[in-house]
Structure formats: C-alpha cells, structure tokens
Amino acid sequence: MAVREFAERGADLELVGIQKRFPGFTAIENLDLTIPAGSFFALLGPSGCGKTTTLRLVAGLEEPTQGRILIGGKDVTSTRSHERPVNTVFQSYALFPHMSIIENVAFGLKRRRIGDPLGKAHEALRLVELDHLAQRRPQQLSGGQQQRVALARAIVNRPALLLLDEPLGALDLKLRRQMQLELKTIQEEVGLTFLHVTHDQEEAMTMADTVAVMNKGAIEQMGAPAELYDLPKTAFVANFLGQSNLFSGEVAGSTDTAIAVDAGGARLVVPKARAHRHNGAVTVGVRPEKVSLHVEAPVPSSERNVLGPGRVLDVSFSGVSTQYLVDVPGHGTILVFAQNTGSGPSVGVGAEVWASWLVEHGFGLDDGAVEVERFAADDSTTSIAAQRRDDLVAELGEG
C-alpha cells in the first residue's frame, strides 16, 4: 500500500473547512487552503498560531475534528500517516537516537523497498554536507547538523509533498542562506510541493511563491510575497510582514478613484483600488520606507498625504538606512525609514518635521477601525524590540 516509488512531481494539497479542537482549546478553526502542485508555499505566523498543528494534520499525525484533506485530488482524510505520500522535517528533528545518521536517512527508503537505499542516503547527506558524519549517532551532532540530517531524511524520499516545520531555525545566518538556496533548488529541480512553516518573515518572503499569514488558527491573508507586503489586508499582516504606520478614521469623501479619510483632523487620500473598504470607519496605512521627511511644510498637493508638524523623538542609524520616530500630535508616533543616499534632509532629535507620502503608496485595510497599536500583534524579536523602544520613548515623552 505504501508509496513504492519516488514522486514524479509534486502533488497539490487542498484543505477544506479544517477545524482542529484539542480538549478545551481550538487550535484551528475553519481553515481553507489550496496549494498548487510544484509550488513553494510558506506558512507564516507567530508562535502558537497553529502552524505545526496544520502540518501534523496534513502528515496524518493528527486527525481533524472537521473538514477534509486532499493530496493530488485524492481524499486522504482517513488515510493513515504511513500511507500518505508526505514527509515531514520535524521542528524537533526527531532523529532516531538508536540508529546512525545513515540508517536514519535510509529508513524511509528501506520501508518503501526502494533500490540502493544506502547509496541514495549518502547522496542526500552529501547534499547537506554531512556525509563525513554518516556513521555517527544523532546525539553526537550539533543542533544545526541534526537539523540538516532531518532535512536529508525527508528529502531523500522525494515525496509528492514535503512539510517543513521551521527546518532552518537552528542554523547560523550563512548556513541558513545556503540551505535556503539549496532547498529552493531541490524544490525547483524535482518540482516537489513544499509546505514550509516559519516565523521568519524574511525567509518566507525570499523563498516562497505564495505566503499565507496565519494568526490564531486562521489564515489572515494569502498571496505572492510582494503582493502581501504591498497591500496588506489586516493590521496583523501589515505589522507581521514588515512594519506599518496605521491611521484610523472615517471616510469623509470619495471620488471615482480614491477615498479621503479624516484621521484625527488630517485628510489622508487612498486610491480605491488599494483600499479594501470604501466607507464608514476604516484604517489606512503606509510602509515606513515610503514616508519622507521634510523640514519645511510641504506645498499641499493632491498627490501627497501630509502629516505634521511633528517632533523627531528618536533617530537610529543602521548603515543602509536611518530609522526616525516622529511624534505627530493627534496621530501618534510615525516610523520613517530613510535610505542613506545622502539626498534627504538629515534631522536630529527634537527637530520639527513634516511627514508625507505619495497617495499611491497608501493602503486601506479590511479591518475597519482598529486600535492603532503599532507593533503589538507581532511576536518576532525585532518588533518586540521596536515595541519596547516605542514604549520607552512614550514614557520619556510624558516625563
């Protein structure tokens, strides 16, 4: 019954109305997801949002409370895990401690009676540059090496669908980049379908064809990385994928192509095509790198939204760019990234500035009015750090 051959190519995965309830806790509610064959799909979300649970459901290690799972068009909801054409790189590696590395890697091949399991296992180990450690036990390897073995152990089976649960989490930056490239190459060469779970947004954006942002057991938004970044649908996505400046207000007027939002007294214009809602209470936003700073009030124009004057609270230099925190009364703190091209104004803490951005760079969320809480929804370290600093700055500002 088990799959006796290598997959010719990837299979598509379809999750239909999946719900997973643990005793006293709903981990996933009503998840619908289609991953086309041969694509590199990244599932991105904060810790505890149900990513691992989703993978376990697909691998057959967990049964959905409701819903169906289809792989390559075949309903596998009640197929047991060893009969599914799926392999997993586990978040905890789960290398068999009583077997050598090579035995670990050859395990799946032997179960499927695929010819020359040891040769293929060595080949897979060479791919992750660990062939010289083939005879060792997993306990004798570093965390990153174990992770690469786990990767080899899954890839060697050439499954129609490969599930990767943060497979690069334990690697240093250089090796991580290298493995990302390697993974992408393998995926493209063989045309396998990859479902890659990560909470590293950069990894998701650089590697995946499609990114789904997951939050609290549901998918908030799905699409190509650039699309998601350019036009986030919810405040969560806007702040989980990069950072955003968000402003809540009422729609005060609209033309054929744009809406104007009255946000705390300022008039912010957003193209209709870039706004998910066109009336009532809305939240609009702009990415910090799209905002420019001016030391003099800019001439009002229909092409730019202007906020100000405000006061620079903090300037931090990070090499290629400088990050400014500007407090604009009535609008809170605005984050601005300025490329250090030498052309923009250089302002110091306490300077009076105006912030402006092109109308076509703004976006309107689907959320309605949200509590404009800039970085709270995100668990990633950089934003926690930014949040901390934000709080600190606010405190200092009061004092």
């Binding site: 060893h82 789960a94 068999f96 179960r111």
Partner: protein
C-alpha cells in the same frame, strides 16, 4: 625512575587527586560491605566446594582439601536439574515478558493522558509485594490443587482429563515462577516505556513504517534497556529459585530445580561440598549467560 615519578606527581594538578581521595573515602562503606557480605561468603563457598569428607568422620564432617572431583560428581548426578533450572527460568522469563510488555506499554504510554489511572495500575502491579511471596505461592497451591474449585470445574467441563493434575507439573512451576517475577519484569519495562518519546514513533510512521514496523524498529530498540533489565531481574532469581519447584509448593518429584537440590544437600543430606559446588556452578553459568546476553543485546552500558 624515582625522580621521574616524583616529578610527575608534582606536576599533577592538586584538585583531581583530592577529589579522587574523597571519592575513595565515600566508596569505603560500600567496599567494606561488599568485602564483608559478598567476598567473604563467596571465598568460603569456594573453599567449601573443594572440601573432602573427614577421614573416619561422621556424616556432615568435612576437611579443607582441593577435591575438584566434587564438581564432576554433582554435574553427573544433577545435570537434569541444572538443565531444568535454566529451561524453567527461560520459559518463565519469556512468559513474563510476553505478559508484561503490553501491560507496561499500556501503563507507560497509553495511560499517559490519565495520570491517576497510571498510578493506580502501578500500585496494582506492586500490590502483591504487600503479602509474602511464600503465602501467595501457597495460595496458588490451594487454588490449583486437585480438589480445588478450578480443577474440579475444568474436569467437570472435560477440559482436563479425570486424573489430570496441575500442581506438581512443570506447568505449575513455570506458572508460579512467571507469576512471582512479573512485577520485576513490568517495572523496568514501565520505566523504559514511560520515557519513550512518541515523536520518534510519529517520525517512523511519517517515514512509511506501518505500526508493526514502528514497533519492531523503534519502540522495541528504544525500550531495550528495560527489556534487558527486566529479563535479568526475572531470569537470575528464577534460575536459582527453590520455592515454586519445591514439593511443598507447586512442584513435584520431577520438577526439582537446582535450588531444591542445593537446599536438600545443605539441609537434608548434609553434603556441604556438593551444595557449594552446585551453587558455584549456578553462579558461573548465570554469569556467562548474562554476559553473552547483554553483549548480544547491545546494552553493555548496563553492566
């Protein structure tokens, strides 16, 4: 030479030497205990096993000698008992393992979600220890005697022949051994299975292994320390057991094991050298068997 020795001694860092001296000091009670209660009797047993009858002496009077003929004598006289001992012990170990593994698996793996059930079942496994095993074995003798309800019912149902016995047969002895040593098998198995990381089993089934293969290739090897410990704790005492096979308990004239003949030689026949020689043979045989077994099962760390 002396200078060299002196120099190396000087060069040694102080700390490890101090700690090794402390370790030695801490080991002292243990070493004394072993010398007193293990080595002394062992040497005495060895010397006794080589004794020769006192010339013109009474029955039971012996003198120190180097009479290795004793070993040949007991081997020729008692080889069936020796074989029987190891045969019964092996059978009891296998049955205890077959019974205990599913039990330990249930308590240690399946019952993890219900800690109360887990504790309750563990208490039930240990509960027999609250009654002396002599009493329990006697109770089984009653339960399985020819006049007992169990045997008469079986006869009435024609499941047993009209003049069949249970007590006094090898089955009864093996049954008794199995019964008495099941906790010794179950507890180490439980300890090993309780620590079994289920993620390995999941990884196995993710890698196309069906449940039986997962059990054979992952569960069993990972619980090997428990299997080895349990079988040793069962096999060693079972091979030397003299209660179950005794005529006063579940055994009969044809089921005598080494323990029984050692007992008879010591206490009835007063042939101390024969009894001592048999004891030494039993010990040596167990040592060899266990050594080979542990080596084969790949758990040398246990020794």
């Amino acid at each position: 030479m002396a200078f060299a020795a002196f120099a190396t001694a000087e060069a040694q860092p102080q700390a490890p030497r101090k700690s090794s001296r402390i370790a030695l000091f801490l080991l002292l009670p243990g070493i004394l205990y072993l010398v007193l209660f293990f080595l002394t009797p062992l040497v005495s047993l060895l010397l006794t096993s080589l004794q020769a009858p006192l010339e013109y002496g009474d029955i039971g009077q012996y003198q120190y000698a180097f009479n290795w003929q004793n070993y040949v004598d007991v081997m020729t006289a008692y080889w069936p008992h020796i074989l029987r001992s190891f045969g019964y012990a092996l059978a009891a170990t296998v049955f205890a393992l077959l019974f205990s593994y599913p039990l330990a698996y249930f308590i240690g793996v399946k019952a993890r979600r219900w800690p109360l059930l887990q504790s309750l079942m563990l208490v039930l496994v240990i509960a027999p220890f609250f009654i002396s095993f002599l009493l329990r074995t006697l109770a089984w003798k009653q339960i399985l005697s020819d006049e007992s309800f169990v045997i008469t019912s079986l006869k009435a149902l024609s499941l047993l022949g009209p003049d069949a016995h249970f007590t006094g047969t090898p089955f009864a002895v093996i049954f008794g051994l199995t019964y008495n040593f099941i906790p010794f098998m179950t507890l180490p198995l439980y300890t090993a299975l309780e620590r079994l990381d289920l993620r390995y089993l999941e990884a196995g089934s993710d890698l196309y292994a069906n449940p039986f293969t997962v059990f054979r290739k992952i569960t069993v090897p990972l619980s090997m320390p428990g299997i080895v410990a349990g079988t040793l704790l069962t096999f060693i005492p079972a091979a030397g057991d003299y209660v179950n096979a005794s005529r006063d308990f579940l055994g009969g004239p044809d089921t005598q094991m080494m323990g029984n003949v050692i007992e008879a030689n010591f206490l009835v026949l007063l042939n101390y050298p024969a009894a001592a020689a048999l004891s030494i043979i039993l010990m040596a045989a167990i040592l060899v068997l266990v050594g080979v077994y542990v080596k084969r099962s790949g758990t040398e760390d246990l020794l």
